[in-house]
């Protein structure tokens, strides 16, 4: 699904990623972790084409993003959903109108079906029904995040990019989110690339984990990474929080 080769990015003269390689296969959930400021969000934004890398290629669905023309990119953008850190909802639109934006852009649905689909998406992410008519400024942080997810899921995309999806959610909502992603993957064959710090959701739903250390990615399953001698990785997974999360694993 995603094939990254030799990706190098530089922000403000500082190299954030140095010849990074990453493959995400169909139906896989890959989590990206790393220290604060190590460039996880930048990596995500580079993959979806918001940042121009200094070098390297990004291929999604086997097509090089930078070689695509306008129409090709537009078609490709319908195939993925993106959830930004703080939801990034359009603040002048209600939640329902926010969800309608990708639906109207990519499809022509009759009005009543559109309303029904919006109601479905609102319910899927666990928002109360009256939240649909509210503006983002009237919602709490966790609700904005769910509304953002509803917009990202609007087209039922086969590929989902999530930036800190469970940060700021209460543990119950975070657990519901994990099971939603798990169910969607089981039935839609959803592929997910997510930046997260939530060890529980890393363990619960990620097949592989990519750790961003020293400007490179170290990729593997949790068991493989546990054997990695790198001090940051050891501190991450063997710290008190990591141990607590791992001990809950079946």
């Amino acid at each position: 699904m995603i094939r990254i080769r030799g990706l190098t990015t530089r922000i403000g003269g500082k190299v954030l990623h140095d010849r990074v390689d990453l493959d995400v296969r169909q139906g896989e959930v890959v989590g990206v972790v790393g220290a604060s400021g190590s460039g996880k969000s930048v990596l995500l934004r580079t993959i979806i084409g918001l940042y121009e890398p200094v070098g390297g290629t990004v291929e999604i669905f086997g097509r090089d993003l930078r070689a695509l023309d306008e129409a090709g990119l537009h078609a490709l953008e319908a195939c993925w959903g993106v959830l930004f850190q703080d939801g990034a909802l359009f603040s002048s639109l209600t939640v329902a109108q926010n969800i309608a934006v990708p639906l109207k852009e990519q499809l022509t649905l009759p009005g009543n079906l559109l309303d029904e689909v919006i109601a479905l998406k609102v319910a899927l992410v666990g928002l109360p029904g009256d939240a649909a008519a509210k503006y983002p400024a009237e919602l709490s942080g966790g609700m904005r995040k769910r509304a953002g997810l509803a917009r990202a899921l609007a087209l039922d995309p086969p590929l989902l990019f999530l930036d800190e999806p469970t940060a700021g959610l209460d543990p119950i909502a975070a657990g519901a989110f994990d099971s939603l992603i798990g169910d969607l993957r089981a039935s839609l064959g959803l592929t997910v690339l997510m930046v997260t710090h939530d060890l529980d959701s890393l363990i619960a739903i990620c097949d592989r984990i990519a750790v961003l250390v020293d400007k490179r990615l170290r990729i593997g399953t949790i068991d493989e990474l546990l054997r990695d001698p790198h001090p940051w990785i050891q501190a991450y997974f063997r710290g008190p929080r990591g141990r607590a999360a791992l001990s809950g694993r079946g």
Binding site: L107, L120, A123, A132, L153, L188
Partner: protein, 381 residues
């Protein structure tokens, strides 16, 4: 049904109808499926329908929900139904979609004439009440600033001197080029137009009187106020508004800092100090423009211009203009900062309130100018 590969076939078997779903039941095909499924409404009560989903290749949440909605609709009309052969991979989707059973309140637009009239009246009424509330708010904010100011006066060390000087630089020095250029041009235009009219009476020398009194009493300070409202008043609103969006103002409060003292006072005081100087500068530039135009167009030399100007203006003419400057400055800073604090957490409200702050401060500046006119007329100056 449909050529997109998604659809279903109906067959009649001994225990009722069977719907054989096939193809991709996805959001992309949902419009066709929706239309086709609505035709099932023809089934009468007492019939039985089996939905056989074995033939579905791909299913997403919308497809799953269409199945569920159809079942619900049939149920409510008394058509017994059952779902069979759900591919195991799709089972969790149906569980997820089951959460989707909730009505979403949709806002209806008014349709008939009475409703439109009512909405119009309500709009006017709401706006009137809002305007009243905004005026009351602004007065409250004014009072708050005075209280804060009195507190700071007792301990002048609390005033943010660095911020004050920085604000004076931004609102004063930064405005010099645009204020100078526009005043110069207004001086040129006023002289030219005045001379053009007065020439008919052979009195073009009085264009200097027109220029002197017009610029010094009214135009110099008004022009400066309008530019400052557009430049600095809007900046105050946008800055404070962005800080409000970022929760920076709440952060200040929790650190025991008074936002009015830290943010508003330097801006207000800086603008009040700088505006008379800007007005003086604007007056000068306009007179320079007028003098240049008089010399080029009317052949009035500089000594003659100065003598004529000196005869035209009284001892109060200049002060009438400059005295108004601090009041205008206070109004612009007050309205700008107040609007900034009223920003809610959305990008749209920053833009709306910035517009509002510029419009409202220019409006108030002109109202105050009119009040001053009346006052000066009573004082005979």
């Amino acid at each position: 049904m449909g050529d997109s590969g998604a659809g279903f076939d109906m067959t009649r078997e001994e225990d009722g109808f069977v719907l054989h779903a096939r193809g991709d039941w996805l959001i992309a095909t949902a419009a066709d499926l929706d239309r086709a499924l609505r035709r099932l409404d023809q089934l009468g009560a007492g019939e039985h329908l089996t939905l056989d989903l074995g033939g579905i290749d791909r299913l997403d949440t919308v497809g799953a929900w269409l199945v569920r909605r159809t079942c619900g609709a049939l149920e409510s009309r008394g058509v017994a139904n059952s779902v069979e052969n759900v591919p195991p991979a799709f089972a969790p989707l149906f569980d997820q979609v089951a959460k989707g059973e909730q009505p979403v309140p949709l806002v209806e637009a008014p349709r008939n004439f009475a409703a439109v009239i009512e909405a119009g009246l309500r709009y006017v009424g709401e706006r009137t009440v809002e305007a009243g509330a905004a005026a009351r708010d602004l007065m409250g904010f004014f009072g708050l600033i005075i209280v804060t100011w009195l507190r700071v006066l007792r301990r002048p060390g609390r005033l943010r001197w660095v911020a004050l000087v920085a604000q004076m630089e931004r609102t004063g020095v930064g405005a010099l080029p645009i204020v100078g250029l526009l005043s110069f041009l207004i001086g040129v235009v006023l002289t030219f137009q005045g001379a053009d009219q007065l020439r008919r009476f052979g009195a073009e020398i009085f264009a200097v009187n027109l220029l002197g009194i017009g610029i010094l009493r009214e135009l110099g300070v008004l022009l400066t106020a309008v530019i400052v409202a557009g430049r600095s008043g809007s900046a105050f609103t946008a800055e404070l508004g962005a800080m409000q969006v970022n929760e920076e103002i709440d952060a200040l409060r929790t650190l025991g800092l008074d936002p009015v003292e830290v943010l508003v006072l330097p801006r207000l005081l800086g603008l009040i100090l700088v505006m008379p100087l800007l007005t003086l500068y604007a007056d000068l530039m306009a007179l320079v423009g007028g003098a240049l135009m008089s010399w080029l167009e009317l052949g009035i030399t500089l000594p003659l211009f100065v003598r004529q100007l000196h005869g035209a203006i009284g001892e109060w003419t200049f002060w009438v203009g400059v005295l108004k400057a601090p009041f205008f400055a206070g109004t612009i800073a007050l309205v700008g900062c107040h609007a900034g604090f009223r920003v809610s957490r959305s990008a749209e409200s920053v833009g709306r309130l910035t517009t509002l702050s510029v419009v409202r401060s220019i409006f108030l500046v002109i109202v105050i100018d009119a009040a001053f006119s009346i006052l000066f007329a009573r004082l005979h100056i």
